[in-house]
Structures are given as structure tokens and as C-alpha cells.
Symmetry: D2
Subunit: 379 residues, 4 copies
């Protein structure tokens, strides 16, 4: 049975001086032949189910054959996860500034080109070690050398990023508002999406927009591109560049279900088995039709009116063109107007998630849908 | 086909001067032999399903044989129903003062005794008309003669109460957070609870605590008591005192479901048929086991710790003593403490509702349960 | 120089398991001849200035001659004081339930009568010790013996009350929204109000409504009344019944000013010197006109309309009848209505506090004023 | 006396169907020789003082000699200005999405280059008219031709932008949290900053980041640059390119002061007189030292710890290097740590604004300061 260590990382202080901490669990493999793994959950306050998945992963990993180090971080953002707003948890952004907690990671592309020039002839091992050291140093600089200080979210994000930079594979566990399971997957890692028990995959471009997944794969992808420009070819997802990051959307926010969490932990272990992190043949992906969609075609539909919404469309099933996604009740119009308004789209779509409340303003995001979807090719 | 009229009542103004209004729908019966009815919905901001029930009632009532006047008021509290708080709707209390929107109605018991003395020998018709006029005048005084003004909630409550005072039967449509259907029923009206398709009934004492149901039945109940003290006997629920008020809890907040709303509308029509408000034999209550519980035995269970809750107990089924209602995840304890904590009670209970979010502070209300329940006797 | 001890009391847990604690500072006097003192601050989240006053009291008390024990508790409610809501702190009530944090203390009047009968002939020392023990036991029962648990606020309140019950004099440091300094003083303790450097005193009846000041003086006052009914006479504020509690309103919320806090600390020391808690003649009350008003005459004025308010009336000065307290801007009426609306009252009043924001709904509390004020008689 | 017209523009709907509207006031000059003007206020919910300034402008402009058309829009964003959050107004961002209301305007730079090529030889009048028409058409397309709808904020922003595009000069009236008066001024319009009675000017680069000021001057500035590349030279701020936009920060949020508003209205009239919009020599800028700072040097200082802040630095005065901006109270450290922590910077700075509350988390923005300031050269 594998043992893990537990450390506690301090990430924030509140007005009373109360310190907010994050537990960090680490398995260290004696036979570290596979890619190292970093898994975190609950960067967004209301998206708590990932903590239950980490609970189940800790239970299961103690009985696996480990080929690499694995670090797991539940409650990654205790500032957000403790921020109750009435009965609910205020979640996706810093309530003081409005900045999305998952858009505060750091990556400065300008360091890539010089590094690639200096290491054009270096060994893969040197590239791996020194590039990682460079990235880590970037973060240390941000954390420690700033007379103006850091925002609340930067302080948290940079500390998590420092942990994540020590891994090759990064899984950031999130949820939607009311949502099906879906996976954010970099385009180059599309083949890996077949190993998660998740029927919907969003293929994201290899650009940095501040999120954890991007912050961890973009440096490597940029480096691979820079080497290629200078004539040294590597393939993303293989060898030195066997680096993959995913945002795993586990379903709906504001919910803990430990039984479903076990299924999701098993799904993650199937992926880790595929990548050689563990050697336990019992963890295999389920057979299912997996749909994919490019990020550009992942469309939000905004409410054409204020009102109260009866969400009709089922998640994960194709909804025919013209069929209603929702009907909006407008009692103020009853008797002298249209009390029910149906919302539909002009093409078949796969609904992925919808807004968390029936009450919407004009312009509230009602649904997100795969607008041009296709079956994910089996790898 | 019956026609209704629609009026618009102004109940509030916001900082920009925007006026908030409430639509008031009225059916006037030519054959007004039965008790008049007042139905409102959405006094609490997030409890929107009652609006859909009123939609379905308006659809169905146009095709009923009416024996009395019926007034229906959706969006009863637009200040609350428009108050978004992040993604959700802030619901049960005025967000500036913390006062529950459904504790602001008015009843001054001191007017009862003098009235009963003056009307000890009056005809039932005079009592009915003059007592109603007295109650209405009380409200008019509150609305119009106060140099210090009214709170936001009083202004709304008193205007609704003015409408409700013109009826004999009052239904206030609410929901719980995440909840089964249940009914708040005055103890004297217990027999009527058998005519709603609602399996759980809370029997409330005949006391005034500021809510709409109490504000409408307590004056009549107090009057009946006062007459009795002077030797003139009436029976609550019959003849002159055929006055009943219920708070109907339709299920969970933050949801609109027009199909379920139709079921609830049909359930309400079965009760109205029983009371002689409509003459449509097709509306009959369903056969079901109905459980009841006195308000004193309706217990809230508060979380013994902060954490993330996996709610386990099913609503509406008896949970054996010692069986877990919930398990609380505490990842910060994983590895060096108890990561899972089970919550149970010492007696069999019927869980009725639970908190709306998995994330709780120490002391957050987890569940409400029927702690000493019994089968509601058939009438 | 006096030394103090510091203990840390655990009062709550958040969703991540983070514990919230309260520091408790205690001076123990070797010469404990005077009444013991309990001072707390920041029970309401946004009312932070009391923490600065406790800072200054700790600085000054180390250099005083102490005749009694003094306990000081800043950050009394860390759940509330850490609850940021956008830029501001959500303050006066539990944001989940709406219940005012300062209405959750416990007092069960039914224990008084039996105690007074049992102790009708007891010595003053026995009465003092045993009544205190009874009160403490009541609180212990609430904290420890409840299968349904406690609300978040009860757990905090009862722990603070346990500390306060060990003292004879209780000061609960609060602030208004935007406010002058004022003092809530029980009617029987009116003479003591002259020893604070606070120009406005509210005389409150001797009734329990859930607040800390009431929770600490009402038991003693009720006991004194019960003894009197049985023919044993004591005077409140003297001897055995030298028990006084005040809510000290230090000015406006959301502000820390350490210099002003020093003035307020000195004002409190003048009162403590008067009561014999310290023997330092340098602490004397300032000469000033002190106005008083009965709680019944402390009137809130609610906005007659939604709009944006230019608060005109100065605090603490008499405003003549008919003079405007505020003018409300309604730009939506400019050009075709009244863009400015003036608000005034029919009598001279002393404005004490006003709402924290210019933007109000119809029915928002604009001002609180002394409506029938008088000069506080010098003692 | 000039007359104005008033129109009402519908900008949003809430859950109850309530419509939110914006009043639009227009003066049309018979002698339209000067640049047309657009002034709006209250795009951020809590920043209400601009409404009072528009009130005073409406009062004064009726008595001016107008040489151009002027449009004034108070309550520009009623969704935000009506969004109370407890006692305060939630202000700078959409509370559902976190997106800053003043970052949702539209500008697509890609239309500039083709236009400049087509109009390289056109008359100034044709350029002016057709470019304005092009910009307006861009906005119309956004408003009317989108099957996925618009966000709440886009719908508001685009409607305001449509009005602003008809003007040459745009003033967007804002406030800081607790703040001195300051002006956001495009670098090319620096000379104009001398005509406002505002002692602090931020010089912003000519880039588009989504704000109203940028959205209105950037198209013209980009066009001027595009012409210049092709050899046709114009000067920004003159002739055809006499287009200027400013964000005017009027002081602190959550406050209305009609007297101060009159001063600010007079200051704006001095600028409008300078630009030839009005011909009233009595409106002249005050003599004062005006400081300026480039946006890059406008620094936010983030709190190094959670705590309660006593803001010490005065606005608008140079604070010497090393002098404290603030002291942070940490009572939890009293007795066994540092209870007071002083915050200072390494250079002389001019403090411009600070956070709205004393209670801060670690990482909350404490102050914004001019870090490298200089005297604004007189024009």
C-alpha cells in the first residue's frame, strides 16, 4: 500500500487575520519512470465535487502500482470556497474585483525564444530540467519580488502553479453551473480524450488566456514550436514533450456526491494508466460515443428577455434544429401578450450546460452548446 | 369560458426610479355562492414555481364553473424576485435589513375584543361585512397615515394583504430550498389537507407571527374565540367562519417546471372543488398516504461542523433512527483525522427539505425533518 | 505595569474546515474590590472601530491601577467580520438566515422567579455567586446538550455570553452605518451615561430582545424585580445589583481610525474610573451637553421613494421642524416631473445616523433621529 | 433659454419582466458650428455623483449660448445602479459574470485600414460623415444580427455607444471608491486637461481596452494613423479630428452632493467653452497645480496581509518616500506579535484613491498612486 505525505500551504489571510490553508497530498514513486502528475480541485468556489474526486483518488491510489509522483490539492482556493453569498457559494471570480480566479496564472511568452536558442543542441534531459527551472524561477520572481504586492488571486494561483510546474500532466477539476460532464482538451492531446469516461470534449487552441491548463501546457507547446522554427523537431504529447493539461468538468456546482466521485476517480485512473503513471490494467476507459467541438463552436446563448426559465433541453443529446432549448415564462404578459416564449437555434446542437437559476435578466447566459460537433475519432 | 380582468399594482421603486409592479388577475363569478379565493406566489424571491402554477390555474380556471371570485397574484414581491445575487436569487429576506419578507404582514389583536362586544348580537352577514371592513381599514391606516413611512417590505405586504382580506380562502405559494412538497395548515383546518395532492402537512398553531397565512386566518380565529368567550359559538371552517389559509410549499426554489406546475394547479383545483369554489367533479384529490407533524416537532438540524455535504436522505420517506441523513466531507482532515463525518438522529424521521448548497459553515441548517410524525386522519 | 493573558477561543468553522477564532485578553487584578468588566467589539461584521478601541484600551490599561478583572474581546464575530460582500463587509445579520447577529443571545425569564424564592433570605454573596452560576449553567446547557445543534450565530453568541456572565459591567462596542457617537443605556443606569464622552444617549427599557447588553443586565434586573415583589428591596446599579451594560456606538462602520479610537478608549476609562474599576484620576468625563431620548422616540424615517439621496442634516445638532433632512434626486423625472424631493419632519429632531449609501429603494431607512429629546440630567 | 428634449431608451429587463430605461436629454443647437458633445453618468452602479452633475449641467445649459448639440444620459446603466448588495450598490461589474460594465464597448480595428484606403482622397466632410456612418453600422450589426443574443452589458453598452458615436466629444462620468478627483485623458489630448478643475490627470495610451472613452476616440485615432501611413496628415484634436474623450472621476462612490456637483458642472462648462461648444466667457478653468502621470505609472498597492486598515495618506498631496500610506491593525497578533503594520513605498507618490472599506483580505487593493508624477504643462 502506497503512503502519501500531507503538507499544508498558506494561501491567504482574511480581515480577522485568519489564515486560509490548502492541504497538499503527495505520492512519491520509487520507480519514477512515468510522467509526474498534478491534480487540483475547487479553484472556483462553488465547484466542490472535485474535492470528493480527490478523496476517492487518495483512497484508490494507495492501492495502485505507481510509476510516477502524484500531487493532489483539494480546496485549491479556500478564499473562494469559503465565500458564501446567501445560501450559495460565490464562485468564479474574486467578489471584490470580478476577475475570474482561473485567469490569474502567469506565462510570459518572451522567455521562450531565448531559451530555445540557448538549448538548440542540448540533451533532452537538460532541456527538461532547465526549462522547468526557468518556469519555476519566473513564478518565484512574481511571488517574492514585487514592491506593490500581489492580488488575492495571484498569490493563490502562483503558489498552485509552482506545484503544477513540477509535473508533466495536470488535471484541473471544475464543474459547470448545471452541467453535463465535459473535458477541455488541448488540440494536440485529442487522442487522450478517449481515455476519460466523459462524452463531450472541447478542443482548445494552444493559446494562453490565464487558465491553469493553459499555463502548464502552453510553455511546453511554445517551446516545441520555437525549436521547430529552428529546425529541431519534437512531437507534443511524446517523449520530452509528453506534457498534457486538462480541465475536467465533473457536472454541476454546489453538489457533493461521493458515489459519483468514485466513478470520476476511476475515469481519471484509466487515463493515468494509459499514460503509464500507474500499472493497473483494471482501469480502462468505458466504451461510449464521445463528441467533440472546437472552442470556437462552443456557443453561449443569451436570454432575449428577462423572465423565468423552464430549461427543456437534455444535456448530451443532440437537439434538432428548431426544437426548444427552453421556454421563458413572462406572467406580466399573460392576458395581453405572450406569456410563454420558446428559445431555439437554427442547427442541431448538443446542450452541455445551463444557467443555475430559473430567474434571468435579459442577456443572462441561458445555455452553452456544441454548435458544430463531431464524433471524437478513436485513437 | 370565463374571462378574467388584469390590473397592475405598483409596489416599489428602485434607485433609478424604476417602478416595480405586480399583475393582479381576477375572476368575478356571477353566482358568488362559494367562498372567495386569493392566491399569490413568489413573495420570496427565489421561490418562483408558484408563478408557473398561477399560469396553469389561469389556463384551467377559464374552463371551470365558478361559484366565487378568485384573485391570483404572481410575482407578488418583484423587489425580491429581481434581486439577483451572483447567479442565484436572494430570496427570503430584505437584503438590506435581513427581515423575512413573509414576516411583515399586520395584525393587531387588540381590535378583536371590542368588535366582538359590539357585534355579539349582530347578524352573520353584518359580522362578515363589518369585520372585513375593520380589517381593511386597519391596513389602509398603515398604508396612508404614517409620517415616518413604511419599510420596503411593509409597503408590499400591506398592499397584498388588502387584496387577501377580500377573500375567505388564501393560498400563499412558496417553495423550500431543495425540498419535497409540503403544506402549512392551521390546526383547525386539518381536514382540508386531505384535498391537496401533498403528502406532508405541517399543523401550525393559531398564532400570529407575521406571515400571510396567519395574517388572514388569525383575525377570524381570534374573533371566533372572542365570541365564544361571550357565549356565542361558531365553528372555524364553517358558515361565517369558513375561512382557511395555507402556505403551499411546491418543492425546490430556483426552478420553473410548467409540467409539474400543471399537477399542482390540478391539486389546488381539487381543494377548491371540495370547498365549493368550483363545480367540476373531475378535480378530485389523489389517494395517498398523507403524513402530518405539529410545528413544534418540525425540527431543523444544524451542521456540527463546517464542510461539504453529501445529502443522503430521501425526502418523504421514513428514515430509521441512526441512519445517516448526510455525510460531511472534510478533506483537511484526510490523512490525520476523520475525513468523513456522518450525521444522524435518534428517532425515525421524515426528511422534508435540505440546504441548497453542499458548502456549509458550522451551524448552517442542514435538514428540516418531521421528528414526531403521524398519518393524517382522513376527513 | 499590568500584564494581561491572551487566550484563543474557537467560534466557527467554514466550508474548507478553516477554524475561526477570537482572541480573549484578560487582566486579573490582585485587588479585586471593584466590579469586573467585559468589553467586546465587532459582533457586527462592518463595525470594526471597536477593535481599534480595544487596541488602545490594552495599551492604556497596562498603565492603570486596576481594582477589578477586565476581559476584552476584539473580533467577537469573525464569521461576520470576514464576510466581504463586494468591496464592503456584510454586517448586521447572518447572510444565510437574515438573523441579526446581536439578537441571538439567551435569556429564559422563567428561571428567575424560583431562584428568588429559594434565595429570599440568602446572603448577598450567595445570591451573587449562585445566580451567576445559574446563568452560566443555562448557557452551558445550550452549548452542550442539543441533539439538533446550534445555529452559527448561537454558537458564537453563547460563547461570548459565557465570558460576559462573569463580569458585572458589560460594554458592547458597535457603530452605526454613517453615524454620530451614541450610547444605548438601560433606563436605570441613566446616571452613568454622564461619564462617557458621548453626546447622545438612548434610554432603553429593561426588556430582553436578544442583544448582548440586554442579555447581561436583564437577568439581574428581573431578579431585583422578583425580590422586590417578595418584599426584599435592592437598588439597580448599587451593591449586589451594581450591574450595568451598554451598547456603545462609536460612529460609522467600515472605518478604522486609531487616533479617534484613543479618544474613545479614554472615554471608556472615565466611566470605569467612575465605577471604581480603575483608580486613575486623570480619566474624567468631558463637559458637554448630553442629549437623551427614549427608545420609543428613536424614530427611523423610511424613504418615500426610490432615488439617490443627498443627506443634508448634520448629526448631533437640532434640526428645526420642516427643515430638510435630505433631498432625493430623481433624474428620471427631470423635465416632466419633480427631479428633487425634500424630506422633512414635523418637529425638531436630532439626527443620529443615516443610511450608508446614496442609492435607496422606496422604503429604505434614510435617517434615525431623536424625535422627542431632552437634556440628560447631570448625576 | 434653451430647451431640451427628453427621450427614454429601454436597456434591460429583469426576471419579473420589469423594464429598465435610461432618460436621454438632448439640446439641439441652431448654430451647430462647434463639436457635438455626449455626456453619460453611472455606468458603474455605485458611481452616482455624475447623475447630480448632469442635473446641474441641465440647469446651467439652459442658460448658455450653444454652438453644438449636447446629449446627456444619467443612469446609463440601471441594471447596475439598481443592484443593491446589502446596504451598498454593487458596482463595477456584472454580478453574474464578473465582467466590468465599462469593458464591453465595441471596436473592431480591422475596418480602419480599408476605410482609409477608400477615402484617401475624400473630402473631410465625406470622411467625417461616412466614417461615423460606418461606426454606427458596426454597432447596429451587433445589436440586431446575432442569433446567440447579447450579454446584459453588451446590450446596454452598444445602445450608449450608438448615441456617443454621434458626438465629437465624449465625457464618461465615474468615481473612484474613496477618491480624489482625477481625469483619464488620452495622451494626444493632454492640453485639454488644463481646462478641467481637476488636479490629477492620467495620460492613457491610444489603445482600445473596451471602455467608453477608448471606444469613442480610438476609431478616430486609428483612422488618423492609417491616413498618415498613406501620406495624408491630420492632427488629433483639430479640424476633422477634433475628437476627444475623457473619463472624469468625480470623487468617491456611494455619494450624492448636489453642491459639489455644481462645481463639477462648472468645470465641465469651462472645458466646453474652451472647445467652442458654448460661448459663455464666465466659464473659465481655475488656476491650480495640475499633476499628471502616465497610466503605466499609476500603481495599485495590494495589501501584504489581511487586516483592518487605517488609511493615513491624504489624497492629492505628495507623500514622501517611506512615509506610511496606511497602518494595518492585526489584533490577533496583539501580545505575541506585531499588532500594527505600516505600509509605505520607496519613492514619493501622490495617493489618488483607496479601498472603500477598512476590512481587507491579503491581496486587496489598498491604494492607487501616481508613482512617477509630473506637473502638467500649461497649454
Amino acid at each position: 500500500m502506497n503512503t502519501f505525505t500531507k503538507k499544508v500551504m498558506s494561501v491567504g489571510e482574511m480581515a480577522s487575520g485568519a489564515k486560509l490553508t490548502v492541504p497538499v497530498y503527495s505520492f512519491v514513486s520509487e520507480n519514477a519512470s512515468g510522467p509526474n502528475v498534478y491534480i487540483q480541485a475547487n479553484m472556483h468556489g462553488a465547484e466542490v465535487q472535485g474535492n470528493a474526486v480527490i478523496f476517492q483518488l487518495l483512497e484508490l491510489l494507495q492501492h495502485c502500482r505507481l510509476n510516477a509522483n502524484i500531487t493532489l490539492v483539494p480546496y485549491a482556493n479556500p478564499v473562494a470556497c469559503n465565500h458564501k453569498n446567501g445560501e450559495y457559494t460565490l464562485g468564479r471570480f474574486d467578489p471584490i474585483t470580478g476577475v475570474n480566479w482561473n485567469r490569474m496564472y502567469h506565462f510570459d511568452e518572451s522567455v521562450i525564444e531565448p531559451f530555445s536558442q540557448n538549448y538548440i543542441d542540448a540533451t533532452e534531459e537538460d532541456i527538461n530540467n532547465d526549462f522547468r527551472a526557468l518556469m519555476l524561477n519566473e513564478i518565484e520572481q512574481k511571488l517574492d519580488h514585487n514592491i506593490f504586492g500581489l492580488t488575492t488571486g495571484q498569490r493563490i494561483a502562483y503558489q498552485l502553479q509552482r506545484l503544477a510546474y513540477q509535473a508533466d500532466i495536470v488535471l484541473d477539476l471544475h464543474t459547470g453551473p448545471i452541467s453535463s460532464k465535459h473535458l477541455y482538451c488541448p488540440e494536440y492531446a485529442q487522442a487522450s480524450a478517449n481515455y476519460f469516461d466523459i462524452p463531450h470534449t472541447l478542443l482548445i487552441p494552444n493559446d494562453f488566456d490565464g487558465a491553469m491548463d493553459e499555463a502548464t501546457f502552453c510553455p511546453w507547446w511554445s517551446l516545441q514550436q520555437a525549436f521547430e522554427k529552428q529546425g529541431r523537431k519534437f512531437t507534443m504529447g511524446q517523449g520530452l514533450f509528453n506534457k498534457e493539461s486538462f480541465t475536467v468538468e465533473l457536472g454541476s456546482q454546489e453538489q457533493i456526491d461521493l458515489d459519483v466521485a468514485k466513478d470520476d476517480a476511476v475515469s481519471i485512473l484509466a487515463y493515468l494508466h494509459y499514460k503509464g503513471v500507474i500499472s493497473n490494467d483494471e482501469y480502462q476507459p468505458q466504451a461510449m460515443t464521445r463528441y467533440a467541438c472546437y472552442l470556437n463552436d462552443y456557443k453561449a446563448l443569451y436570454s432575449p428577455m428577462g423572465g423565468m426559465v423552464d430549461y427543456l433541453a437534455e444535456f448530451g443529446e443532440v437537439l434538432a434544429a428548431g426544437e426548444p432549448l427552453a421556454r421563458i415564462l413572462r406572467m406580466d404578459n399573460y392576458g395581453d401578450g405572450e406569456a410563454l416564449h420558446y428559445v431555439s437555434l437554427d442547427k442541431p446542437v448538443i446542450p452541455i450546460l445551463h444557467f443555475a437559476s430559473a430567474s434571468v435578466n435579459q442577456g443572462t447566459e441561458l445555455y452553452k452548446v456544441f454548435y458544430n460537433y463531431f464524433e471524437l475519432p478513436e485513437s
